[in-house]
């Protein structure tokens, strides 16, 4: 038996205390990711519910998430806006918050989910060096928002399989995609946590007879589906009409059909498995791209990156990219304008009636910034 000296045991004790201290400090940081950013609903919000109201299978889990209901003065048709499907694509969540804090409906009902994959907001993607939050200046103070992961927190859903097999189609993807909510639709009531969350959303659409569903995303500047609307074939006419109006507002945007052989995504499965018009919107987000430089809050908010400027000069990108970048103001302006134009197109085509009022225009958000339309902290 080896001789154990007092000296070595003292060192071990000191190191164990240091380890405990490091664990406490790190735990505080990681646990702070579970704190939700405050949202201050405007007068248009008539009810706040939880997604588990439509599928109790996610009650008291990390997948349960707030649903804001904006009921119009007159009955009409309904729209669902999904922000935060991928919490590393912040324009989606911020656009949803802008609706919650400003929109008022005169006709119809608007449902807004700002944290669609709630669990994914509680972690960041490994090895990305991403910030845990970002801040927006408002006239009355600073507001903070969470920057999260593309996929469900592995603490909440583990382990990943070697190969993820999409339940209803048999499509095979890499194992980590099992935690990507936008590869899990239409979901399963007895599936993984992510599949239960997408099932809850599909159930909500079915039970509330939601007519239009808009899923808000962002994409890397080197990704071909960018500054685009992707629409299920049933929603093509609606999307075409809305797109023309968006272009008339000065937005450069294209329309793509939802591929029939790409499964698990909102624009495919919600169109196939519910009666909603399912569309998805993409903007250009440098902070999730592979060619980006330093990843920090400024990149998330200002969207400027010298490496993307160079990549654009080499013709490697699918969007123009100059020194001005693609700031969050522009990206949110695009999403908000898209949402309003989808409602307008629905009315114009005689499909039904939904009127979303009191929202800033594309030009106003671009010129005044998102912060000008966020409520003051504590309001």
């Amino acid at each position: 038996m080896q001789l154990i000296t007092r000296h070595n045991r003292t060192w071990a004790a000191v190191l164990l205390v240091l380890t405990a201290l490091v664990c406490v400090l790190l735990a505080q940081q990681f646990l702070s990711m579970r704190v939700e950013e405050p949202i201050y609903p405007g007068p248009g919000v008539t009810e706040q519910r939880m997604l588990s109201d439509w599928f109790p299978g996610i009650k008291d889990t990390a997948a349960d998430t707030p649903v804001y209901v904006l009921q119009g003065e007159q009955p009409g048709n309904s729209m669902l806006v999904l922000g935060g499907t991928h919490p590393n694509e912040p324009a989606g969540q911020l656009s949803a918050v802008l609706l919650i804090e400003n929109a008022q409906l005169s006709v119809g009902t608007l449902y807004v989910i700002p944290r669609t994959n709630n669990s994914a907001f509680t972690t960041t993607d490994p090895q990305e060096g991403a910030p845990m939050r970002f801040t927006i200046d408002t006239p009355n103070g600073e507001r903070w928002f969470r920057f999260g992961s593309r996929a469900t927190n592995p603490v909440h859903q583990w382990p990943d399989p070697e190969i993820y097999v999409h339940a209803s189609s048999g499509q095979r993807l890499s194992g980590s995609e099992t935690r990507n909510i936008n590869r899990s639709y239409p979901g399963r009531p007895d599936g993984t946590l992510t599949e239960k969350a997408s099932y809850a959303i599909a159930e909500m659409i079915r039970k509330e007879n939601i007519d239009i569903t808009i899923d808000l995303h962002e994409a890397s500047p080197e990704y071909p589906t960018i500054n685009a609307v992707v629409a299920h074939e049933d929603a093509m006419e609606l999307a075409s009409w809305a797109l023309l109006n968006m272009q008339m507002e000065g937005m450069d945007i294209m329309l793509e059909p939802s591929p029939k052989n790409l499964h698990g995504l909102t624009h495919r499965e919600l169109g196939d498995f519910t009666d909603t018009y399912a569309v998805l919107m993409e903007t250009a987000n440098a902070s999730q791209g592979r060619l980006r430089g330093r990843t920090n809050e400024a990149l998330v908010v200002e969207g400027k990156d010298k490496f993307y400027v160079r990549a654009a000069q080499y013709g490697r990108l699918y969007v123009p990219f100059d020194e001005n970048g693609h700031p969050l103001n522009e990206r949110v302006a695009r999403h908000v304008t898209g949402i309003l134009q989808f409602a307008q197109a629905y009315n114009d085509l005689g499909l039904g009636a939904i009127a979303i009022d009191n929202m800033p225009t594309f030009t106003q958000i671009n010129e005044n910034g998102v912060g000008a339309y966020l409520n003051a902290p504590g309001e």
């Binding site: 154990i4 000296t5 045991r9 190191l15 790190l26 735990a27 583990w158 382990p159």
Partner: protein, 47 residues
């Protein structure tokens, strides 16, 4: 599956601490301390 994983992590932590107390080389003890950090955070389901 989760509980099996947690038991394995707990056993690993106990083993590392046990060996850390018996190790003569202080640099190996430092290595052990570094290995403990992610394991403890995993055991507590923090990260």
């Amino acid at each position: 599956m989760l509980y099996v994983y947690l038991v394995l992590v707990a056993l690993l932590i106990v083993n590392i601490v046990w060996n850390m107390l018996r190790e003569k080389d202080v640099f190996v003890q430092v290595d052990a301390a570094l290995v403990l950090v992610p394991l403890i955070l995993r055991l507590l389901l923090i990260k």
